[in-house]
């Protein structure tokens, strides 16, 4: 059962979406996760929109957030264009394929797979170190060299496919791939991931646009809400108990993932 039935005045939903994404923007920054990965399972599970539009909005939401941040990341050296190009090329090709396949599959299959992925992401975030952790490689201002380039390209292909299929921002997977697999310092991995998402999501976005899966009344309030919330979140970052917020976010993600899974399986319609 959704929060209300489809007969509710149209403007209630964009307004509710704006409020929710504003909140998501705040907690995403504090918890150190991307807003896109929270948006699709939560909105897809608890709002009356068809999953096509939620995936489309989630993809564009992750795209716009990274577009806004990328110039600063590039100038500060926290994102590296030369490193991103081969990774983004693989990611873009597979993201495009993921988006096309996503429209060919029955919605319950996509919903079930989304539930599995989101529960897996929640587990990954739970066991991974948060941004409060003391990482000796956290600083950007020391010499580093990427390694395992071929494996990195393969990883970005797989991550791009999942991102395009479900409309997820892929920072939750890009950052470990860049940091743990390719040996980039954590801050550079975070920045480079943002630049990569801006390129990779651009390719899948065209599939969603051409299929009519980007409804402005859903996508635009979400983009604005997350962007405003992220700014507030960045200001609150130092004064908030990020470990507690992170645990709450992971719990919400697990519930939303379970809901998507059960909904896809027809157990909790």
């Amino acid at each position: 059962m959704h929060l209300a039935d489809a007969a509710t005045a149209w403007w209630i939903w964009p307004l509710a979406l704006f409020c929710l994404t504003f909140l998501l923007g705040i907690v995403a920054v504090i918890a150190g996760v991307g807003g896109g990965v929270l948006f699709v399972p939560i909105v897809g599970s608890f709002f009356p929109f068809h999953l096509d539009y939620v995936r489309g909005a989630g993809l564009v939401l992750a795209l716009t957030g990274t577009l806004a941040a990328s110039p600063t990341l590039l100038r500060s050296g926290l994102a590296n264009l030369r490193l991103v190009l081969p990774l983004a090329l693989a990611g873009s090709i597979f993201s495009l394929a993921g988006a096309v396949i996503g429209f060919a599959l029955p919605v319950n299959v996509v919903q079930t797979a989304l539930g599995v992925i989101i529960v897996a992401v929640a587990v990954l975030l739970w066991v991974a170190k948060g941004h409060d952790g003391l990482d000796p490689a956290a600083a950007a201002n020391f010499d580093w060299r990427s390694r395992r380039g071929v494996l990195g390209i393969a990883a970005f292909g797989g991550i791009g496919f999942i991102g395009g299929l479900f409309g997820l921002g892929a920072g939750w997977a890009n950052v470990p791939a860049l940091n743990l697999l390719m040996g980039l310092p954590l801050k550079v991995a975070v920045g480079t991931s943002g630049l990569a998402i801006s390129l990779i999501n651009s390719s899948a976005a065209w599939v969603y646009i051409s299929r009519g899966a980007l409804l402005p009344a859903i996508a635009m309030p979400s983009i604005l809400g997350v962007m405003l919330g992220s700014r507030i979140g960045a200001r609150l970052l130092h004064g908030m108990p990020s470990v507690v917020v992170r645990r709450v976010v992971i719990s919400v993600l697990a519930v939303a993932g379970a809901r998507a899974l059960l909904r896809g399986l027809g157990i909790w319609a």
């Binding site: 149209w10 590039l74 030369r82």
Partner: protein, 130 residues
Amino acid sequence: MTPRSRAMDPQEIYARWLERGARFTFAFALLSLALYLTGALEPLVPLDDLPRLWTLSAADLRREVHAPSGWDWLRLVRYGDYLNQLGISFFALLSLVCTARVIPAFAKSGERSQALLAALQVIVLLAATL
């Protein structure tokens, strides 16, 4: 790196173009959203119909409202909803434009493999628009 060589660096060029493009696109998107949601610009799909239509799949919705296929929607940007779609398309277009811009910059600096990768990325993004 001197200020001049820094300005010619492909990474700086990409950042500069992306910054300007993003500013324009966000301003355009905000304005078009205001025109759409306030009803100042009439939408092709009436706003009151949305709660029924957004429960349909994208394919069903397109059939229901007789939405144009391919790039034909560009002819409908006089309507509020399609003007917003144009704003969203600008977001998706930004990376393509910025990547295309750094191809000659990479070639000029002798980084042929990077120029090739950027060109391939542009081809993939162009293919995605088709």
